[in-house]
Amino acid sequence: MQQANTSQRSVPATRKSGARLAWIGRAFLLALALFAVIVLVRSFFDNPQLFAQIVISGLQLGFVYALIALGYTMVYGIVKLINFAHGDVFMAGAFVSFFAVTRFQLHLWPAMVFPNLPPIVVTVVGSITVILLSMAVCALMAVTIERVAYKPLRTAPRIAALITAIGVSFFLEYFGALNFVFSPRFIPYQRPFDVVTWYIFDGIHQVMPGQNPPQGSITFSNIAIIIMVVSILMQLSLQFLVRRTRIGKAMRATAFDKQAAQLMGINVDRVISITFAIGSAFAGLGGVLYAIAYPSINTLLGVLPGLKAFVAAVLGGIGSIPGAFVGALIMGQAEALTAGYISTPMRDAIAFTILIVVLLVRPTGIFGEPEKEKA
């Protein structure tokens, strides 16, 4: 009896060390990575121009995701809530700009007020006004949502707020689809400015309507450049805000420890509202740019980009601003390259597989801080 018991108890210590078998898992991952690299390298040498073209479209997509992902990651960082309604705020941004342009001709206001302005100034100022309006409306909307649906649940189990977030998301989608709101249609989006495309082939030339760019040229458009520039600018300004300003520091303090922040006299509720507002303003901006780049909008527009941006935020390490940015770029490339070289219908599957594999290697994302061991 005692004998049996002793031996039973000593089993764990006499077991072989499994650490020696770590190579199996590593070999598996390596094989996956190698496969991906081989596919990419071969594709690159097959047709470098096509490869570059695909990478450019991946960049454009990735930078839009980045704008949405920033909001996700900020909100998650501060209230640990997966704000599923974020994608719908993004949708609202697109619709606000649509109505501003088609109903109120807001993008032309400089020309109406100052008739002698050169058209380029009109376009730039008008478009910026439209974008700012969208951002403001989105920020307002998000703050309202936060007050109504999330704040009362701050002390409740986290999942309750997640469910209300899903509820808010459904509400925005289907309320927006009512006939007297946005209607459920896919609406051709009227851009506040025209998209111009250039191609690179012995220098940079503009693509004229009805003219095929020569074989082997690489095309890019002004909207792609705007998206990239705006996205980088926003990322930098957000970094500045969070690192250098008083409210940004309060955000980081609140994210780290709400009670300690309260003890500093920080109004935690206000900081959270501001975080929602900023994140959603970015989503609104993303919504406008997205609609300009892919000009067909309906009320379900935000679902997939929202989801992918969220995945990008998780991939980069949720809560981390540079992480969201890098994650979004990876998502963009993963989608574009999968679409280009494997199969378009598989691109979501591949993107998520990448997410899962990355999480297995780095359980809290690329830039995520390791979870604290607790005892």
């Binding site: 000593s10 764990p12 006499t14 005892a375």
Partner: protein, 276 residues
């Protein structure tokens, strides 16, 4: 396997008194750059009741966490009955006969007191999940037996009246007792108590001391405890180890420790000498 002896380990322990039950050698733990525990050594023989004291943050709980497997040591050996258990999973360490309580009580808050204790029996449940799904006679029998055993434990701790209360609804003192009962129910040879008397008033502490003495004899336990209540430590422990800044600064009997100037300076405080 239906023996009714108090503790199967009891005779094994007496048969090998000269062999230490726990032999910790050069244990180290780093958190990032911070050295939480530095070359910690400790030998405990079967049947002893040893105290581990030191200021908050001295590394006592970290040592506990390493011995019970929650932390993987950065270096050193933890030899339990001749086997190095450093780096084993906590559940394996527990199955080898190490039970513990936690500094900030970690009961299963939404479960009843009885379930809290029954969970500790899990590894000895004596029936499989298939038995449970099919509700076989074996399940019925073993579950009844297990429940009775758990209730016996509860009655030792005078908790039988509250067996159906949710753990989170108990007052502090009772939570402590449930936690000790739960740790004992996992059938340990070595029991680690992390500040068992915290939050108890002097009268409760006296009861607790009696209780610990009782369970130690009853179950032939070896006990290692962390405690701040000096009266408790001095009154109950046979030997005391004092830690400060991750290092052992003194060992000895309670009397020796109280007289040790380093201990007084580091832990009891200079005021102690004045007051005494």
């Amino acid at each position: 396997m239906t023996e009714t002896l108090a503790n199967p380990m009891a005779s094994a322990a007496t048969a090998t008194t000269n062999q230490p039950l726990l032999d910790v050698r050069k244990l180290n733990k780093f958190f990032g750059g911070l050295r939480a525990v530095n070359d910690f050594d400790m030998i405990i023989y079967p049947g002893e009741l040893v105290g581990l004291i030191g200021p908050n943050g001295a590394g006592k709980t970290t040592c506990f966490n390493m011995i019970s497997g929650l932390y993987t040591p950065s270096g050193g050996e933890i030899i339990l009955y001749g086997q190095n258990v450093a780096g084993l999973e906590p559940y394996e360490v527990t199955q080898m006969g190490v039970g513990r309580t936690f500094q900030n009580i970690r009961l299963f808050p939404n479960l009843s007191v009885l379930d809290n204790v029954r969970i500790a029996y899990h590894t000895h449940a004596g029936y499989s999940m298939i038995d449970a799904i099919l509700r076989t006679p074996r399940y019925e029998r073993m579950e009844r037996e297990l429940t009775e055993k758990a209730q016996d434990f509860l009655s030792i701790f005078k908790l039988e009246r509250i067996q159906d209360e949710l753990a989170m609804n108990l007052p502090y003192g009772e939570q402590r007792r449930v936690e000790i009962a739960r740790a004992l129910a996992s059938n340990p040879r070595l029991l680690l108590l992390d500040e068992p008397a915290a939050g108890m008033n002097p009268a409760e502490i006296v009861t607790l001391m009696d209780l610990i003495h009782f369970v130690q004899e009853r179950f032939n336990l070896t006990i290692l405890l962390i405690e701040h209540q000096m009266r408790f430590v001095m009154g109950i422990c046979e030997r005391i180890t004092v830690m400060d800044f991750g290092e052992v600064i003194a060992r000895g009997t309670p009397k020796e420790i109280q007289a040790d100037p380093r201990v007084v300076e580091a832990y009891l405080g200079k005021g102690a000498t004045h007051a005494a």
